[in-house]
Point group: C2
Chain length 307, copies 2
Amino acid sequence: MGDPAGIGAEVICKSINIMGNKSIPVIIGDISVIRDMESRLGIKHQTFKRFREGNKGDIEFIDKGRIKKIKYGISRKEYGRASYEYIMEALAIIKAGHAEALVTCPINKASIHKAGVDFPGHTEILADFFHVKEYVMMMANRKMRVSLVTIHIPLKEVPSVITKDRVLSCINVTNHCLKEHFRVKKPIIKVCGLNPHAGENGIMGNEEAFIKSAIDEAVSSGIDVSGPFPADTLFHKVDCHAFIAMYHDQGLIPVKTTDFKRTVNITLGLPFIRTSPGHGTGFDIAGKGIADPSGFMEAYRVAEMLS
Amino acid sequence: MGDPAGIGAEVICKSINIMGNKSIPVIIGDISVIRDMESRLGIKHQTFKRFREGNKGDIEFIDKGRIKKIKYGISRKEYGRASYEYIMEALAIIKAGHAEALVTCPINKASIHKAGVDFPGHTEILADFFHVKEYVMMMANRKMRVSLVTIHIPLKEVPSVITKDRVLSCINVTNHCLKEHFRVKKPIIKVCGLNPHAGENGIMGNEEAFIKSAIDEAVSSGIDVSGPFPADTLFHKVDCHAFIAMYHDQGLIPVKTTDFKRTVNITLGLPFIRTSPGHGTGFDIAGKGIADPSGFMEAYRVAEMLS
């Protein structure tokens, strides 16, 4: 359900109809928040089954009972604590083999920090729980998929972090998941340069040398990957199964600009499928009934498809 | 005409029909290259007027007579020299008051360097010629306009170059040109952050403080400008007259991804209108007759409109 003060409960309530057709969803959150949202939206109270008691067409609910009366749009320690418990419950279920995929609604960094949880976001929590070192954040919509070599670090730290090993790891994880989960028989991958015009032969930066050596090694291991290409002219024609971007905005701008509503965040490299909508907690609109569920619906759809 | 070994002559030949309707174009280049291209394309040899002898509907040509037999797709000192002379001729004409706008076809950096011309590109040549210090590169298509605070520098140099003065200058020049040339009465401008999530209150970088102080000063001088906003979620909804991006790929990715063919480069802050297509010399396809003239046509159309 994500942060209870965000738009998580709302997008779930608005997406009930598309869930449960091909899979049995287990919503993990606080039933009080769901009921409050249903009342605000003026929709009937959904009947949920208990965990592992549902059949095809049913929706299961695990109520963590953490929230008495929700106040939307604010950061609170107890909301951060609740968000974290929802995730931990989900991970326990997955570890026990009772679920194949996880769809997360957005959490609030400040709130989980207040609750003493020191992770930058979901992705890092999940990777830590399963002791996974090589994982990749991919953003995807129906037009394109982009994997990121670096994610949530200041721009000035990006160039020094672009090493051959990091780029190669991102290529390898992406290639593996395209085959394994996306069922692409022969994945084609294209890689961005770091600098304007991909450095233009070293005139505008030289980190492309590291990127090139990673690509060369991946090619020699049999992967169909090419680049580094100038990023500005790369995304208008999607002739590959995934792009590799060097940093946050380079990769997220093309995806979110081309289809913002249906942009899905997919974590690659975990022992299970994990997706989430591309948007945040939406504190500015939370509780108002105006949140768009398209991103969550697409995240659910992609999780079903990949698993 | 741009670099004679590039696709400049070809896109001009393919655009003859759209020129000369609202303006009298003066093509500056080598007639031998145009004739060669017309033959390759199998189109009739256009009749040109001499400079300042044309009337409405005519096309004038200034033949610099630099090229005997063109070889497409290669970098040569003589081609760099020719490209540079075409530009110098154009600037002399503009300085003399005989033209209001300049549309440039792409030049090749390596070739002009071989010819001893030490500029990174057109924009810097033009600014130097007119002793202009405050100029801005804007990339625009029919969906959005983006002005850049920094252009052709390595990514690792970008953060230290983002100063309050630079951002403010870019906002001021953009605002002025939107009013002066684009005839926008009350321009609305939105500014990107530098870091992921615009730094998220300093968690991921702090250069947003400089950007914010530039915005504050611009606002207090009466400009409708806001930000800094996270760049990844900014461009999917175009609710302003121009965006300000901090660096090359941040600004060019959204423009080129949304309408690559009709992306136009506009130099703001010069004492005349200057546009160019968003693409490069196209050495890989030059001379083959397959170049797409959409970018040049759009650059010509925008130059006419703005002047």
